[in-house]
């Protein structure tokens, strides 16, 4: 029994739209994945949103229910009917892979047959944000439980605490001293992302080391991995990782359709690009790699039939 990637969906902000919505992006990406798989939204029993920077800095409820309603995955209470459980997992750019690890567990436990992870980010405080250089975009990965040897075979995660200050993102109050009209018209909360100079290089270095340790403990080497799919984000990470490891097939997918570099949707967009290529079709073993704030590295080893997409 295993968990396979059934389809991947992506969404970019509509042209000319000044303030795209994180929920709308994630919902479109989810619909894209559902359409590609040819299934019904109601078959998705578990939905995790791994997006970070969201509409209006909503902290309650989770963002996942908005997406669940958007795609129509069992939003209503129907006595005796199927249900969907949705919630958010946050782990920066590693969030989607963390969510896959959680969902793979629930699927293998028989909680549901299908599950989905979505992620999207937007500038939550347009006009007053600092350091937001990702492109608003969304990604979705649809997972299905199957009998047989295919699917995810191992996960690995590690953090390198000494680098925790290399990437920091928050929303803070900047309205101090404002009053009257300026307080009511002002944008009083602002997103701040601070990225250290050598952050991407350290992400790649930490990821390369983690890959080495992960494979070694399983008696494997990179030669046993047919395809390495690094997250598109942070910008420059796939290229830096390719230099740091000896992988002939380390894909460096070009962003699709002129999309810029995303944030938490990076792993989904990388996967979408990889799946469009011949290398993915031929591959029997695929290593998904993400690195983000912490520095956190998340790895997922995926086994598939050669020829399957």
């Amino acid at each position: 029994m295993g968990t396979i990637i059934e389809s991947v969906g992506v969404a970019e902000a509509r042209r000319g739209l000044r303030h795209p919505s994180s929920v709308e992006l994630a919902t479109r990406a989810a619909r894209d994945a559902i359409e590609a798989a040819g299934c019904e939204a109601g078959e998705i029993g578990l939905l995790i949103n791994a997006g970070v920077y969201r509409d209006e800095n909503i902290c309650e409820p989770a963002i996942a229910p908005f997406i669940q309603r958007g795609i129509g995955a069992n939003p209503a209470l129907v006595p005796g009917g199927p249900t969907t459980f949705s919630f958010d997992v946050q782990n920066g750019v590693c969030g989607m892979l963390t969510a896959i690890q959680v969902l793979d567990g629930f699927l293998s436990s028989g909680v549901a047959k299908r599950a989905m992870v979505v992620a999207s980010d937007i500038d939550p405080t347009p006009g007053v944000s600092q350091g937001i250089d990702f492109a608003p975009s969304g990604g979705a990965i649809l997972l299905r439980s199957v009998d047989g040897p295919e699917g995810f075979t191992a996960f690995h995660s590690e953090t390198v605490g000494k680098h925790s200050n290399l990437f920091e993102g928050h929303v803070e109050w900047i309205g101090e001293g404002r009053s009257g009209l300026s307080l009511h018209l002002g944008r009083n909360h602002a997103a701040r992302i601070r990225q250290g100079e050598n952050y991407v290089a350290q992400c790649a270095d930490c990821a390369a080391r983690a890959i080495g340790r992960f494979l070694e403990t399983r008696g494997l080497t990179l030669a046993d991995v047919d395809l390495v799919v690094p997250s598109i984000s942070p910008a420059g990470f796939p290229e830096a990782l390719a230099e740091g490891i000896d992988a002939q097939d380390c894909t460096m997918p070009a962003p699709q359709g002129g999309m810029g570099i995303p944030h938490s949707a990076g792993p989904a967009l990388a996967l979408a690009s990889a799946m469009a290529g011949e290398g993915y079709r031929k591959a029997r073993s695929v290593l998904l790699v993400a690195a983000g704030a912490g520095i956190t590295v998340a790895l997922a080893l995926y086994g598939k039939r050669a020829g399957a997409v």
Partner: protein, 369 residues
Amino acid sequence: MSTDLGRALPQALGTSPGREPSFRSRFESLGLHLPAQRQTSRDLIDSCRHRVRIDLERLTGIRERRICGEGEDSYTLAVDAAFDCLEHSRHEARDLEMVVSCSITRYKGADVFSFEPPLSHAIKEAVGASQALNFDVSNACAGMLTGVAILDDFIRRGVVRCGMVVSGEKISSISQNATRAVRTILSSQLASLTVGDAGSAVILERAENGSRGIEAIEFATYAEHDQLCIGKACATAPGATMKTNPRKLHDVAIKAAVPSLAKALERCDLSLDEIDHLVPHQTSVRAIRAGQKHVQQELGAMAKNVIVNLDALGNTASTTHFVALYKQLQEGNLAPGERVVLICYASGLVVGSLIFSVDELVEGYGHDH
């Protein structure tokens, strides 16, 4: 943390009929941290900008709540609760293979709502559990129970043996900001006046020695009601605001709680009158009593004891169940062999039920501890 996957190992959350779990998980220890500063309902109403004729204490059963002082935030509450949990545990921080932070609020520093790195990263580093897999879960007031459901699944599948679910809720800013808006009992921010700050932590481990541990977990999200309670950054003041439609939220929640509870009981082959303690999400005494009445009508039975823990702490958001359990443990009100059901209803709208058996967990607490 690295995991090879043992396959076809079922577990409690919505497990298909006929499947038996490989392992069970149990609550090994609980931790609590409360800020020292208290605020009475009377003081809170007196601080409202408008003249408000509401007897909040009578309406909700909340006499006072704790609120964070200077230097206290979601992160510090979580870390202090995690340390308290470890003090009550036979495990050390280095035994924790997973740390999941589940708070709604993510304040780390004054007026700084932190997104990255995740709070769980800073928490695990602070308590000395660097090796643990960490991530944050956000699921409104169902956050901690969602974290427990995930960790329970990992333990049941044999992927980890021991982990911590933790939450620090500095949520009183919604209450503070509501004092400028509330005018009448119909205010959309009235429910914001019921919250209090608290940190809570729980260690789950693989159950040994025949402990029944966690027996069933049931969760569903009825997303057509996702607009009934929304919390977000406040436009005109530090912190957040929360707007709710409390009447509709309550009606939908108690209606949805019945099938959730029924499914969880069915999985354990129990009826509700075989449950010794029922811990509902702590909102207000009236809401709890009305929910109790509805469930009793629908299921034809009621648990022997319904725990209400609002008087001194109010609604502490994602931490309410474990804050209430901690007090019950301290007062010696739980006995080994008793069965407890935790029921959560949260914005989203999320409804969940968890059934567990009390075991030697009680030994670490009590009046003398």
